[in-house]
């Protein structure tokens, strides 16, 4: 099941999905926040602030702030690591999973339309 996109199709897909995301989503996430969210939900846990910062090439406060915002929106949760209480483990939430599920559906639906 290969993904065989031309450059034009690739950008077209990105275009359509991004526009619909802007239109529909009241959340207005940053690219960084979206990257963090995808990282949390698509990469096996555990996730820490330091780990995410290193993975994305940003500073720790960026992650802390993003988790603050996304926490208020119910997209992720924080939890102290009881084994090493210096660490904070980032947990997934139902709402976050739903958000990504909708995003996945949007991409697929758009891809079908774009290339049909």
């Amino acid at each position: 099941m290969p993904v065989d996109l031309t450059p034009s199709q690739a950008l077209g897909l990105w275009h359509a999905v991004t526009v619909r995301q802007v239109q529909d989503d009241g959340r207005d996430l940053t690219l960084r926040q979206l990257a963090i969210l995808l990282e949390i939900y698509l990469v096996p846990p555990p996730h820490t602030v330091r780990g995410l910062a290193a993975r994305l090439g940003v500073t720790k406060p960026v992650i802390t702030r993003a988790l603050d915002t996304m926490g208020e929106q119910g997209l992720a949760t924080r939890q102290r690591d009881e084994r090493d209480r210096r660490n904070v483990v980032i947990k997934r939430t139902v709402e976050g999973a739903l958000f990504l599920e909708r995003l996945g559906d949007l991409i697929i639906a758009t891809g079908r339309v774009q290339t049909s």
Copy 2:
């Protein structure tokens, strides 16, 4: 040349591309700015502030501000419409075209790796 993505592959693609975009791009565009950029370069001109605002479901100042920022970065230019001097026509730039070209290549390259 169909795009036959599973939900998992779709999100995986989005994930990898978004993360690399965050890692590599010092510009740190907003989702809205990215949507505007894609709209300008993938939809046939002419583009106006009002048109883009309507298309994306945002207010006019959002477009004005985004064009300010993107103008400083060389990603787009503004030009008065001499036929109707109330209008401003948004023009593409070489740098903007290069940016999108790189994005397209990134998506394709990622898609190949992701699904191989």
